[in-house]
């Protein structure tokens, strides 16, 4: 069967279980596709051809033997962002500091995907240690946007979104600290979800900012995202910050009466082409019999500084462990004095990482703690309060995912602050812990625009319902010709 690579997860598992094609046949097409086009995109850091084929054959054997325990994601090709630990496959965080690192354990999300019989095909490119919004800060070179290879794919999960858009895998795992799943999903015209904080285990996610980040799924369609969430979400004893619950998401293509609030400040702050698209989306929702109106949020102007204060502070501490003594790269410590050795190995961090570590140390230092870090944490409480009252009036809030269209590679790389400002639409969800999804909403000059939908804590079903209805009503293209 030809062109299995454009199938959704649902179609793949059904096809394999029905005997329409084998897992091996499918995986071979995927691997071939990666070989053929990834040099243009640079989504993958590591491809595990051998492991993928072995797993595919195992699944085929299980099916041939009539075994009952075939997982719900049987045969589906999945890419894993390279800051999520995989036992046996390198996990580099796109950094020189971990370029040889192989984790001795699997992240819980990876383990759960494997238990669902998904097939891990490789590790995906990211901004170094997930710090960035364009995947340009990678030690492995930038990931190119499949829609226009001169443009950025977004970040920090650029490889995760681009690989799905380029049909190099059906689904991928990314991580979102300040928009890192939604931004590239928006830039690459695919669906990306940042789940409620605490709904997916972070065990095995290499920490950048632990109080803000979540692992989440990226796929071509909402149904892909739902299938991954049902596999990976839910309480994990290995992560004290996970919530006491079990995921049971369903596809509800007939939901009605959703109340929609459009966040005025975020639409007004965006590129006109994008604002136009978002207003059009609001029209779409009205036609679906949703109640739509504009609304306002006061805390928005403080959200970015609050986000960066907290993220950088946590990062400066999370990255302290990289001293090359227990893991890292090959450098014999013999003869070195310890301060010298530590400084020497840590000079291998990229410039963006170094900047964030320094600023992070600054905002945590004695004397500044109250001015920055404490204030930022208090702002989160304020933001949560504001959202709580908004969610009494609305079931979902909508906004653009990004305030601008995908831009040329290199455009913003020399101006860190300019780069940070593009996170304006996405950080609210991380600061407050609420779930947020980006779904394709249209194009301008063949460059993708994403619509962001946010819901209250643990109300992913509502968010997914709205997203599904929007998806069905708009039918936006998911993968470019490559």
């Amino acid at each position: 069967m030809a062109n299995l690579v454009s199938l959704t997860s649902e179609q793949i598992t059904l096809g394999i279980k029905n005997g329409d094609f084998s897992a091996e046949e499918y995986i071979c097409q995927i691997l071939y596709r990666i070989e053929k086009i990834d040099f243009k995109i640079n989504a993958f850091i590591t491809v595990d051809k051998k492991g993928a084929l072995e797993k595919a054959r195992l699944i085929d054997r299980k099916i041939r033997n009539g075994e009952q325990n075939i997982g719900p994601l049987a045969g589906v090709a999945v890419g894993i962002k390279d800051n999520i630990c995989t036992n046996g496959l390198k996990t580099t965080c796109a950094s020189k500091m971990l370029k040889d690192y192989v984790s001795p354990y699997d992240a819980t999300s990876v383990k759960r995907l494997q238990e669902s019989d998904a097939i891990v095909v490789g590790k995906l490119n990211l901004d170094e240690f997930a710090m960035g919004s364009t995947t340009e800060f990678s030690n492995n070179g930038p990931t190119h946007n499949p829609w226009n290879v001169d443009c950025v794919a977004g970040g920090s999960s650029g490889g995760s979104a681009a690989s799905v858009a380029a049909l190099e895998c059906a689904i991928s795992l990314g991580s979102d600290t300040g928009g890192s799943i939604r931004c590239p999903a928006s830039f690459c015209s695919v669906v990306g979800l940042k789940p409620t904080y605490g709904s997916v285990s972070r065990y095995g996610l290499i920490s950048y900012a632990n109080s803000l980040e979540q692992i989440g799924p990226i796929g071509k369609t909402v149904s892909d995202v739902i299938m991954v969430m049902n596999a990976i979400a839910g309480k994990d004893d290995k992560d004290h910050t996970t919530l006491e619950w079990v995921p049971k998401y369903t596809l509800n293509p007939t939901k009605k009466n959703i109340r929609v609030g459009l966040v005025k400040e975020l639409v007004e702050g965006a590129d006109p082409a994008i604002s136009k698209c978002i207003y059009y989306a609001m029209d779409m929702f009205s036609r679906l019999d949703f109640k739509c109106e504009e609304t306002s949020m006061n805390s928005i102007r403080y959200s970015l500084p609050s986000y960066y204060t907290i993220a950088m502070a946590e990062a400066s501490s999370n990255l302290a462990r990289y001293d090359n003594i227990r893991y890292g790269f090959d450098l014999n410590p013999d003869g070195y004095e310890w301060n010298t050795y530590f400084s020497k190995v840590r000079s291998n961090f990229g410039q963006e990482v170094k900047r964030r570590i320094i600023i992070g140390s600054y905002v945590l230092s004695a004397g500044y703690y109250g001015k920055y870090y404490l204030k930022a944490q208090k702002l989160r409480s304020l933001l949560k309060k504001e959202l709580k009252s908004l969610f009494k009036k609305y079931d979902i809030l909508i906004a653009p995912t990004m305030p601008l269209l995908p831009f040329k590679i290199g455009d913003k790389i020399d101006d860190p602050l300019k780069m940070y400002l593009i996170d304006i639409d996405t950080v609210i969800a991380n600061l407050s812990g609420i779930p947020a999804i980006s779904i394709p909403a249209g194009f301008n000059n063949n460059l993708p625009i994403g619509l962001q939908i946010m819901a209250n804590e643990l109300q992913e079903q509502t968010l997914l319902d709205a997203a599904l209805l929007f998806e069905r009503a708009t039918n936006i293209q998911r993968s470019p010709e490559l």
Binding site: Y101, Y203, G204, A313, S316, A320, R321, D334, L364, Y369
Partner: protein
């Protein structure tokens, strides 16, 4: 001018009764294991690992807080103390911190010691132990590399911080002994295990700068280190030499404090709450759980000893100072209910045989003695089967052989002689032998005791001394 001395203590106790480490399920007892064989992703600080707080550690730390009269807050938190060091797997230590609100397991407590002295406890906190650095050459500067063992990394510690109210190193020693007894009685720390208890101290005189003393490896050494440091500071002060605020290490061999080699200067630890551990809500059930499970504290035990067993204050205090000793006592009393007698044998006689220079082993190690031996001995004396001095001799023997006193008594026919006839014969014998002493005795009471001594010697200590003395006195007066 008399300069006031201020001493504050930072006591670290490992929670050795736990099965696992503070934040992971690795074994809590790292002693004697192959290096780096007792580790997991969490305690090695591997990327992506997350800390998982040990419930029983919180319980044990809570009991210590209550025993020290502390308030246990409704909610506790953990903080990161950020600094780099090769024995620190994450290059930060997970600990507790009260500068932004009381969130450690205990705060504002007080403990009475040495009768009516009071020590104020500033706080009790839970934290993790780092790994161990080992040097091949004892002169650290000549090593090309350092050897690191992470087996101990992540082991649960409680830190007890006192107010700097101590003024005398002797008081510090008594206080530390009490702390030791408390944690033993709570069953949370086996103080005999190597490295299970450490104490840092800070000392200042007058209102001058504080000097921190680290690296003191046993509670016994703390008194010595403090005495040395106080003298050092007083001497400097007399000579108008400035005392710098610094950290000094106690040199065990040379018995002096010396400037720390590493610059542990004012480090900015950039404390902030650990995002991977939520605020732990303890609630009222926690306090009731603690109070229900709380073992008997030394002070409570002392009261019970003086009330139920009618022991004197002094004897009771000696017993409860060491849980092993008080357990031994109660075990013996259970076998033979003569508490005063047994207590006396332990406090007056048995403890004298103890070599407590090595605190790390059982206090009775080297002696073949168990509770049953003392119970047996007390019984023999109580029932007048042997007299007290025979008993003392027997004790001296059995601690080497492990025989039961009644066995030895039977073997050597050590039973008391109270047959007047037999004793008379002995007295006659001595009077014949010690003619000059007899003459002296007629005038001098002390010489009568000399004669008694000889009678006891002759009867191998078995004669009833009262009867013997009676006979001697009568015979002396008779011949007058």
């Amino acid at each position: 001018m008399v300069l006031t001395v201020n001493i504050g203590l930072e006591i670290h106790c490992q929670l050795t009764a736990l099965q696992s480490k503070l934040f992971c399920s690795c074994y809590s007892d790292y002693r004697g294991k192959t290096p780096n064989n007792n580790v997991c992703p969490i305690c090695s600080g591997l990327p992506g690992s997350l800390p998982l707080l040990n419930q029983r550690a919180v319980e044990h730390a809570g009991m210590v807080s209550l025993a020290l009269g502390c308030k246990v807050p409704d909610k506790i938190m953990f903080y990161r103390k950020n600094y780099f060091y090769p024995d620190l797997p994450k290059n930060f230590q997970l600990t507790q911190y009260n500068s932004y609100g009381i969130t450690s397991i205990g705060a504002e407590g007080k403990l009475d010691y040495d009768g009516s002295k009071k020590a104020i406890i500033r706080r009790v906190q839970l934290e993790e132990d780092p790994g161990r650095l080992v040097y091949e050459n004892s002169d650290i500067d000549t090593n090309f590399y350092t050897l690191i063992d992470y087996n101990r990394a992540g082991v649960a510690l409680i830190e007890i911080v006192t107010e700097p109210d101590f003024t005398d190193p002797k008081d510090v020693r008594i206080f530390l002994n009490k702390i030791s007894s408390i944690v033993q009685h709570l069953g949370v720390c086996d103080t005999k295990l190597e490295g299970s208890v450490r104490c840092d101290a800070n000392v200042s005189i007058g209102s001058k700068k504080k000097v921190e003393i680290k690296n003191v490896n046993s509670f016994k050494e703390v008194e010595k280190a403090l005495a040395y440091e106080i003298t050092r500071q007083k001497t400097m002060s007399t000579h108008d030499i400035e005392i710098k605020a610094e950290t000094r290490h106690w040199d065990d061999l040379r018995k002096i404090t010396k400037q720390a080699r590493t610059k542990e200067a004012e480090q900015d630890y950039r404390y902030f709450p650990e995002p991977d551990i939520p605020t732990i809500v303890l609630g009222n059930e926690f306090l009731s759980l603690l109070k229900t499970n709380m073992p008997e504290l030394p002070d409570e035990r002392k009261i019970r000893f003086t009330t139920d067993y009618q022991l004197s204050e002094h004897v009771a205090q000696v017993l409860i100072d060491n849980k092993e000793v008080s357990d031994f006592f109660e075990l013996a009393v259970n076998m033979y209910p003569s508490p005063k007698e047994i207590a006396n044998w332990i406090v007056t006689d048995l403890l004298a045989f103890i070599d407590d220079s090595d605190q790390k082993r059982s206090i009775f190690s080297g002696l073949k003695i168990e509770a049953k031996h003392i119970a047996d001995l007390a019984k023999l004396v109580d029932k007048n089967i042997i007299n007290r001095s025979t008993a003392k001799m027997i004790l001296r023997q059995i601690i080497k052989t492990g025989e039961l006193p009644s066995q030895l008594a039977r073997k050597t026919n050590a039973s008391k002689i109270d047959d007047t006839g037999v004793i008379s014969e002995a007295v006659e014998s001595i009077f014949l032998r010690e003619k000059s002493a007899v003459i002296d005795a007629k005038n001098n009471a002390n010489a009568a005791n000399f004669l008694l001594g000889k009678v006891m010697q002759l009867t191998k200590g078995r004669a009833d001394p009262k009867i013997a003395l009676n006979l001697i006195t009568r015979k002396l007066t008779e011949s007058n």
